[in-house]
Each structure stands twice: as C-alpha cells, then as structure tokens.
C-alpha cells in the first residue's frame, strides 16, 4: 500500500465522519476538525457516553469549591478557617473516597457478568451512591460558605456567622473518613461474598 492510497483512504473516511457530524448538526468548526483529524477528534463528538470516572469528577468539584473558599478568605480574618493543614486533610479524605468509589465501580463492573444483582452488589452500590452524595453535599456547603465569607467581608462583620457552616463542612469531611473506616471492612466482605457466590 502506497502513501498515496493511505492518504486517499484517510480523506475518504474523513469525509464520511464529517458528513455524519454535519447530519447531527454539530458546529461547523467541529465538522471541519473531524474531517482533518478524525482519528483523534471523532471520539469527542461520540453521542454515547463512555463510563466516566465519576468519583474523580465529584472530587474535582469539591477541590474547585475548596479553592474558591480559600480565594474568598485570603488576606482576611477568615483565612484561618481553612489553613493548609485543614486543606490537606480534606484532600486526603477526598482521595480516599475517590479511590473507594473507583474500587467499587470496578467491582460492580465485574459483577455485571452475573445475571441478577446480588445482595452484596446492591449494598456496594449503596455505599458508592452515599459517598458520591456526600461529595455533592460538600460542594454545596462550600459554595454556601464562600457566599457567607464574601458577604461578611463586604459587611465588615466577624467570622461568627460562618462558624456553623464551617462546623457542618467539617462534620461531612470527618463523616467521609469515618465511613471509610466503618465500610472498609464491609466492602471487603461484600467483595469476598460476591466472588464466592456462584454465578446464577
């Protein structure tokens, strides 16, 4: 096969992919990019969502919210609310939770080979959903805390109004850590139970 033939095949496939993108009413620039670089760009337009790293995305949202709180508090008396040690603690708990959700996702993906969901996989899913829910709640709390800090800064008031929110944020962070140690043994148990039970 010559280089000329390869080039013709590349362009022909590019035209096909670009036509499909055009039919799906994608923006003109995307259609052009699919035509020119379809081997790497076509997957960006794929309508079917591949299983994503949900835990990473949720943890990323928490980290982003944490940065915004730190930005809002920087250079004021509120800066002590979240010092470096506190930030490190939150990040550590997030990493642990992310890893746990990933491990559960992996386990659940394996267990889909069985026809009916077992009791263990149902419980694993419940742990996963609770972790994700806790991270989403943490994002909302941090956003509320940032708002309170900005209001307090502009009004010149003290940090007292924000203390309740900070306590709540800490309770969630500690809750993530406690859930980790409490459910760690169960997750392992459930995994063993799952692998020990014969496929239906």
């Amino acid at each position: 096969m010559t280089l000329g033939l390869i080039a013709i095949a590349y362009i022909a496939l590019g035209i096909v992919f670009a036509f499909l993108a055009w039919r799906r009413k994608e923006p003109a620039l995307d259609v052009l990019f699919v035509l020119l670089a379809w081997p790497i760009y076509a997957s960006m337009l794929s309508p079917k969502e591949a299983p994503e790293d949900v835990a990473f995305r949720e943890a990323e949202a928490v980290r982003e919210a944490l940065v915004q709180v730190a930005d809002a508090a920087r250079g004021s008396t509120f800066a002590t609310l979240f010092d470096q040690r506190a930030e490190d603690r939150v990040r550590l708990e997030l990493e642990r939770t992310t890893e746990r959700v990933r491990a559960i996702d992996l386990e659940l993906a394996r267990s889909t080979k069985t026809i009916a969901p077992s009791r263990a996989s149902t419980r694993l899913r419940a742990i996963r959903d609770r972790d994700l829910h806790a991270m989403r709640e943490l994002v909302q709390l941090l956003a509320a805390l940032r708002g309170e800090i900005l209001i307090a800064r502009h009004e010149g008031s003290s940090a007292e109004g924000t203390s309740a929110l900070v306590s709540e944020v800490w309770a969630r962070v500690v809750g993530l850590g406690e859930a980790q140690s409490r459910d760690g043994s169960f997750a392992l148990e459930a995994s063993i139970e799952e692998s020990a039970s014969p496929p239906i």
């Binding site: 995307d30 960006m44 591949a50 994503e52 508090a73 004021s76």
Partner: protein, 231 residues
C-alpha cells in the same frame, strides 16, 4: 482583599494551566471545548512553524513545509493515542479512549503554541546565521522544547502509572515522530538541491542512518557551506 475567581477561557487554560487542562480531559467537564481549542492552536502553531522552516529555502518549499508540519505531528499523535490508551487501560482505572485522545490533543496544542512562540526566534537565527546544518539543528531544538511542553501534560495525565508504561508511551511517540519526519522530508531543502519536491521518494539509509550521517557532517561543517550542491 482577594478578587473573586473568574471563569478562564479554554485558551487561557490550555496556555497557562496544564493541571486544569488535564483534569478537564480526565473528568470530561469542558473536555470538548478544550479539545477544540487545542486542535485549533495545533493547526495554527504548526502551520506557522512549518512556514518558518520552509523559509530556509523559500519559494514553494515555504508552502510545502507549512502543510507538512501539521501532518508530521498529527501522524505522531494519531499513532500514539491508541498506544497510550492501551497502556493506560492495563491499569485498573477509568481511562476511556476520549480521555487519552483529548490528553494527547491538549499536549499537541500546547506544543504547537510553544512552536509558534519559538518560530520568530528560529526565523531570526536562520536569517542572521544561516547554514543548513545549524538551521536544521535549531529547528530540531525548537521541536525538542515543544516536545517537553507536551510531555509535561501527558505525564500529568498518566500520573500514578508505572514508569515503564510512561517510558513505553514516550517511545511510541518518539519513534512515530521520527518515522513521520523521515517520510515527509525534505523540510529545509539543501542549498544546492536543484528542485523542490513535496516528498522525496528515493530510498536511502533510513531515518536513524541519516541522523548519524547528518550529525557527522554537521559537526565538521556547522554552517553547511560544503553542503552546497549536495542533496
């Protein structure tokens, strides 16, 4: 008083915040917009750099080199994406193909921006110093610097994977870049070469042999005066 955070444009993220760009590739949030910006930057940067490389000979070579430079890097990226995806998939983590593709696109986009930034310097150096070997050496150095910018993105994206996986991914990219560069030659066109062609078709000593020969010749004649008339 701190300033509230504002939403950065995707171009600013691509240019200034590789960590955030990598996170977008892996998490999927804003990935498509970032990939679009990276590909646009890639085409603009490589066309510009190719044009500057082609300026060494001028005439039609300016157009040829400007067209071939995006092809060179696109070929290497297209070959590397499946390899990186396959290597990453051996690890137990979520690693869809589009994450690998967008990561390589962002890396290539950043490299192209570095090339665009270095293009005026290369142009100036070729104009002031001239010489075939020195110009080709400087162009290779610019590509190397741009490659480092791209590598930093890929390494961030594949953080946590074993070093052997990263080394293999780098090897695939390096070899495909070398091969694409060899297939698509000439780039500068030797001063004494009588004609300008889009691609050479004759068989030679191969990419590695040519590199050794060029380095040996270049060491004795960095300005390339003795290359006059040579092909």
């Amino acid at each position: 008083m701190s300033t509230p955070t504002h939403t950065e444009s995707t171009f600013a993220v691509l240019l200034r915040d590789p960590e955030k760009a990598v996170q977008a590739c892996l998490s999927g949030v804003g990935r498509r917009e970032l990939a679009r910006t990276a590909l646009a930057s890639f085409f603009v940067g490589t066309l510009l750099f190719g044009g500057v490389v082609g300026c060494f000979r001028g005439e039609l070579q300016l157009l040829f080199a400007a067209l071939k430079m995006p092809l060179l890097l696109l070929g290497a990226v297209v070959t590397t994406v499946p390899a990186i995806w396959a290597l990453g998939a051996t690890e137990e983590r979520a690693w869809p193909m589009r994450s690998a593709a967008s990561l390589m696109l962002v890396a290539a986009g950043r490299a192209a921006l570095v090339l665009a930034a270095l293009a005026p310097l290369l142009w100036l150096a070729m104009d002031l110093i001239g010489g075939y070997h020195l110009s080709s050496f400087l162009a290779a150095c610019a590509l190397g610097i741009a490659g480092l910018a791209a590598l930093s993105v890929v390494l961030r994206g594949m953080r946590g994977m074993p070093s052997g996986t990263l080394a293999l991914a780098g090897l695939v990219f390096g070899l495909s870049l070398l091969h694409s560069g060899w297939v698509l030659r000439p780039w500068l066109v030797r001063p004494g070469s009588p004609e300008i062609v889009f691609m050479r078709t004759e068989r030679g000593v191969g990419a590695l042999g040519s590199l050794v020969m060029s380095a040996t010749r270049g060491a004795g004649d960095p300005l390339g005066y003795e290359s006059e008339g040579a092909r």
